[in-house]
Amino acid sequence: MLQGIIRIGTHEWEVPMGFVAGMRVPGRFFLSESLGASLEPGAIQQLANVATMPGIIKNSLAMPDIHWGYGFPIGGVAAFDLTEGVISPGGVGFDINCGVRLLATPLAQKDISGRFDLIEKLFHGVPTGVGAKSSLRVTAQELDTMMVQGARWAVEAGYGEQNDLVRCEEGGFMKEANPKEVSIKAKQRGIPQGGTLGSGNHFLELQIVNHIYDQASANAFGLSKGQVCIMIHCGSRGLGHQVCTDHLKVLEGAARKYQIKLPDRQLACAPISSVEGKSYFGAMAASANYAWANRQLITHTTRHIFKKMFGIGYEEMPLVYDVAHNVAKIEEHVIDGRKIKLCVHRKGATRSFGPNTADIPDKLSSVGQPVIIPGSMGTPSFVLRGTSKAMERTFGSTCHGAGRVMSRTQAKKTLSGKEVVASLARQGILVKAPNEAAIADEAPEVYKSSEEVVRVVHEVGLSLLVARLQPLGVIKG
């Protein structure tokens, strides 16, 4: 482990005050020894830098999929006091509300094994990759409604079921959204992209539940062994990216205006209560809502294709849950015995609310919030449940996925898209992408082990394993 880091538990480490000058709280991260082998010193530096920001509460945190990011590390969680604290786009990411949802189906593996025609239909039905545009054309007014009502707009427009909102973080929309704070440029990018998947590490994956760790919780979530599920991973598309670009520029100036000393320019921020802070938060929430609407539209397209191919009804493909992993939220947490509202930033981290917490579905109140953790292409994904331990230790947060260990340049040199496809096919996994580089870039070996990341959060108790899902087919941008 890096010099200066203190072990405080089996998988728990402290970055002490003074690791970088000006830290207001210690840093804390969760990591196993084996994941520690690929830990980047720069990521810990970033964790420590975040700890210098005004109004930060308790700890600057990072999950076991930690890696180097923009300002905040990926896998970073930080909560700020609403009066003294700041809000920072670096703590959310360019892809606002990049997140993931899981649909259950009544199908079994034998129904879809080898069905490349299904993969083809999904690939052509869900616009994917660079330059992809949606067949859906919304008006400027409809876009505003999307940004205010998120997934609710989509459901009420006929693209989903009421239960889709119950099983979505925030009920599918944040009420703090303010489309007026979203620039015309961002809106221009958003209009043609509703229902598109994007590229990079975004995907739509067909999976099978191949192991149940916790039968009672799996039953409550609607999961059973051998069941085919569909996982959708994408975010706020060009609209969210533009919002981040626009507001980063403003907040860089704001940090100087409010005389906020920052060790890293990429931690550009403003007081949450300032004009600039409120403007970013309103725009960020609007973008988050657009992302939820986007995932709902893709859900509808997917259900439509499955209905046509297999004759199953939409109600037979319920949403298990939808989680955001790049977002800032106002949440109430208990700090030193008192309930306080905080601005919780999660960048590459997932909410993991425990039993009896507000904003988890009533029917799941005794179980905890479902946590969906995607693997990388060809590796297992996981469903876990949130815990009270997460509420105490990490502002109700857990990991989001695997985190990269290999650069794209290295991937291009050592991996061939054709060989990756062939290798996955030998394991019974079909892959469809617009180009081979997209596949090589996202090969299983470029990521940390999702199993190891999830093992750490399970053993620490931030979220507990419920089910493992094995991929059968994937479409990628």
């Binding site: 990079g200 980063l248 794209r408 180009n435 580089a437």
Partner: protein, 135 residues
């Protein structure tokens, strides 16, 4: 024109060397378009871009952000940028062609241009910058 992709775990990092500042900016545009669309790009249409920014580093970032925006919204894949810089003002004569899925779906989306290590350096050999594209 001289740029290369250098290792970066999560994103795409480009290192550019150029004799002049304008060439540096032009090469940065070339690098961005290659990452997004691949190398097969023709100049059959023209477009002008103008950007103003108080610092040369933020001028580069704003120029690339504007290219990203125009490319996304107007569906143009740029093949060339002839850049003129006067103080805080940049104007560029751009060439490109309409996006075609058959020809241009060879790259990956860029979500934004990062400030990470963005610092244009100048010595006797010319200008150099590292830019990170968030993918």
């Amino acid at each position: 024109m001289s740029y290369e992709e250098v290792p970066h775990t999560a994103d795409v990092k480009i290192r550019i060397h150029a004799r002049t500042l304008e060439e540096l900016f032009s090469d940065a545009c070339e690098a961005l378009m290659t990452v997004m669309y691949g190398t097969s790009r023709k100049g059959i249409m023209k477009r002008e871009i103008a950007v103003t920014s108080p610092h040369i580093d933020s001028l580069l970032l704003d120029f690339l952000s504007e290219i990203l925006f125009i490319s996304d919204v107007e569906g143009i894949v740029f093949s060339k940028a002839v850049v003129h810089i006067a103080g805080q003002n940049l104007s560029a004569e751009m060439e490109g062609e309409p996006f075609s899925k058959k020809i241009h779906a060879k790259g990956t989306e860029v979500k934004g241009i990062s400030y990470t290590g963005l610092s244009i350096r100048h010595d006797a050999n010319g200008y150099m910058v590292d830019i990170v594209f968030d993918v």
